[in-house]
Subunit: 495 residues, 2 copies
């Protein structure tokens, strides 16, 4: 290993970028603020797409594709939307060699262009609900970028739905929040907290923004997904109307919701370590690598060598066949690294760097004992397993690893959420040791801004109960000590 990963404890940000660059997930591009997603990173995105797309479609949502370009006049129609998004946009002024009559904005999000189509497609209540999703690239000009977390162009899915009533839109936005949280837990093994954004942090043009927030290993917060109840704000400016059952013309109520390639950044910062990437098995493009130990027998004993390779290949086949019997939620992928120009030790490091969940070592002495050496990426635990029992053991360890990663991240998160009532204690503690701070808030913009100025922390979300209703608080506001009408919220420094 000529190149190294900066230890996490030494410099978290450098560690993060080292892992991504060394594991070849992404690279910097010559276009300012834009990254290249390399095959190792894109394979993870494909797994995310597949798992999430299935869940989105199960709600009756269908995929479609809308134009990349949005006429300037559209962006300007919704008053809150234009203030936030217009300054972030890339603007096309010339096309086909000529200056355009109207400037085109590269989509930062598609509520406006999609509403112009919804207004055309929707006539009556029979056309509702309309549930549409789009997998696309979007562009938001960023001055300070970080691979996966904040890039000028990124990939995402954006859902857009229309409903007869505000209540139905509210329900749908909560349904999608649950889907994101479940997906994050079950697939990314990343625990999240479901919450409601404060007025100052909500989506520009929304009535209400729900979010999932995750804690990274440096105890900072990552907003991992959002789901907006748009009420009829966009419908009103785009004239998205329907005739209801009573024959009256009404505006539709809408939602929009999205997650992006940012999830890959969250994944890295949730599980990876100083050796490199750690991937939950449900997302790993490759689950098991078999490394035949040939080094010492090379040239000396060709019979041993061919026997090791033969058993390796048989094991690969057995593992893949076994997968078909047990019906994992993914197709088990098993590789053998037969490259004789590399030492086994070099390969161990390499596949640890790449985050392959399980490594199998198999040499002539293992063959004699009819066992393999099985090594788990997350714990580094080594185990001797008889060859016959390998298929069952591999599946068991993959499932255990998926589960253990979630439990470990959950425990870490829970150990770093603190209840606070004293503002001074809060300020000193968040600065010295980070973490999430649960406290009471009077819902005033003043108190929210004061925290930001004093500590750089923001309200990540107002906390929700099991029904996704806001949790009221009868404690005094953390900042101003006012007692009435407070809610519980989480403060943290975020990405």
């Amino acid at each position: 290993m000529s190149e190294k990963i900066t230890p996490q404890s030494q410099d978290f940000s450098r560690w993060y970028h080292d892992v991504i660059l060394q594991a070849k997930l992404a690279d910097y591009s010559p276009v300012k603020g834009c990254m290249v997603i390399r095959p190792n990173g894109y394979a993870i995105w494909e797994r995310i797409q597949k798992e999430l797309d299935r869940r989105i479609k199960a709600t009756g949502t269908r995929n479609a594709y809308f134009p990349l370009f949005i006429p300037e006049s559209f962006i300007k129609k919704e008053e809150n939307h234009v203030v936030v998004f217009a300054p972030q946009c890339a603007v096309v002024t010339h096309g086909g060699g000529k200056e355009l009559e109207e400037k085109l904005y590269v989509r930062p999000t598609s509520e406006t262009i999609i509403n112009s189509m919804f207004a055309k497609w929707i006539q009556s209540y029979r056309d509702l609900p309309l549930l549409i999703n789009q997998w696309a690239n979007v562009v938001r000009w960023e001055m300070r970028t970080r691979l996966f977390l904040r890039t000028t162009e990124f990939l995402w899915q954006e859902g857009h739905t229309c409903h007869e009533t505000l209540d139905e839109a509210e329900q749908l936005s909560k349904t999608m929040l649950n889907i994101y949280a479940d997906f994050s837990q079950e697939v990314l093994a990343m625990p999240t907290i479901k919450g409601l954004k404060s007025e100052s942090e909500k989506f520009a043009g929304a009535l209400r923004t729900y979010c999932i927030e995750a804690m990274m290993q440096d105890k900072k917060a990552l907003q991992a997904g959002t789901s907006h109840n748009l009420s009829d704000h966009f419908a009103k400016v785009f004239g998205t109307k329907f005739l209801n059952k009573e024959g009256k013309e009404k505006f539709v109520y809408q939602t929009s919701w999205g997650v992006s390639t940012r999830l890959i950044g969250g994944l890295v910062m949730s599980h990876s370590d100083d050796k490199g990437l750690v991937l939950p098995p449900r997302l790993a493009p490759l689950h098991v690598v078999i490394i035949p130990i040939l080094g010492k027998i090379l040239g000396k004993n060709d019979q041993n060598k061919s026997r090791v390779l033969e058993v390796s290949e048989k094991l690969q086949k057995t593992l893949q066949e076994h997968d078909q019997k047990v019906r994992l939620p993914y197709t088990l992928s098993v590789a053998i690294d037969k490259d004789e120009t590399k030492q086994a030790g070099w390969k161990f490091y390499e596949y640890e760097l790449l985050g392959v969940p399980l490594r199998i070592e198999l040499g002539p002495r293992d063959l004699e004992k009819n066992h393999i050496v099985l090594v788990r990426r997350d714990t580094g635990k080594k185990e001797f397993v008889s060859i016959n029992e390998a298929p069952q053991k591999v599946i068991k360890e993959l499932e255990a690893m998926q589960n253990d990663l979630f439990l470990k991240a959950s425990a870490f998160r829970d150990n770093n959420i603190f209840d606070v009532e004293s503002y001074d204690e809060f300020c000193s503690q968040i600065t010295s040791q980070g973490g999430f701070y649960r406290s009471s808030w009077c819902q005033s913009n003043e108190c929210e801004q004061k925290v930001k100025e004093n500590t750089k922390a923001t309200i990540r979300c107002i906390t929700l109960d099991k029904n996704l209703d806001v949790v009221k608080s009868d404690k005094p506001c953390l900042v101003c000590k006012k007692k009435a009408g407070n809610v519980e919220c989480l403060f943290a420094i975020s990405y």
Copy 2:
């Protein structure tokens, strides 16, 4: 059916657009030249992606993602590339509220930006071959647009590969051509002719462009996919070099290849008819619709009604279970239309318009006789099938339909390819009845241009033999009658 489809014989172009709009495959957008791909159309694109992606990956190619924006200086580096593509580009001049120092072009194709990364990633022959594919949107400014066939923004895949030798690049470009042709035949049921583009029609920057050309039902040609041998043209201007086994620095040899959402246009013009869309089963998002005949029994005999619905549901389940036994190359999708506000006759038209391959009608009288009525979308053939035999019969008819669509399109194409030697005859025949014209060509630009001016036809391709080598001709050139050094080629009017 309040809205109608213009008969194909009356106006092919209006028929084409009527089918697309009525079947809700796509719609015009408020952004000039850009279309919206609606859920019915996008579902077809998802099937195309899934089938093609699998074939591309089987070659060892891996997916990645490169930036949407290309710095102006990159586009200008390859001299042929800039002349063709720069005038077609959408140009971003402002970002984040400021004028940019260097203009950014929205990618019309990604050879340039990708080479800037390849140059960084490739060091030695050990890094080769490098096989990368990208699913993305691209923008080429178009003055006259047609849904799916020619739009300012479209979706595609673009493969980009690097090799040690020119010969290896040539082989890869031919491999991809074969994959496109096989995919087109097996999945789209669209026969194509593999060929080589003339110098004037090849990709800007390529040494050689291979293509597949299909004949539409109006006898015009559609270029359905291209595969380019780029030689070291882009490598030289971007410095994409490697150390070969002898330790010498060499430029890599490259290919690029792509197909786009244009394939959906080709699909429509290959198989559809005056009733609407006809979809090959391997691409259809929905394969079978069961229509319970409830009209006459409504309210009168609820027992009959619930019995019809019960048997319909059981049949749906049986069909889906049977699918798991026979292992079709797709997951059989079966729907029941229980909507009681619509007449059965209205539904028949609706599902014909949408191109569902098989319709099953099931009413009380059918139940008495223990049979269903099975109707094939392409032939309109009605058959009584006993309920027990329905699962086998459905699979059989789907497979037959997939095959028959290909055979029908092939026969139509073959009947409209003509061998010509007389230039006058050619000019009058191509104008009066269209079709493809196989003839001898001296390879001069003059003769090629003369045909274009006289007939609007272009050389679709130089024909290839089974090994994909150019077919020489010893006949006189169709235009100038010169005899030596001729090749066989196909002339046609194209989209």
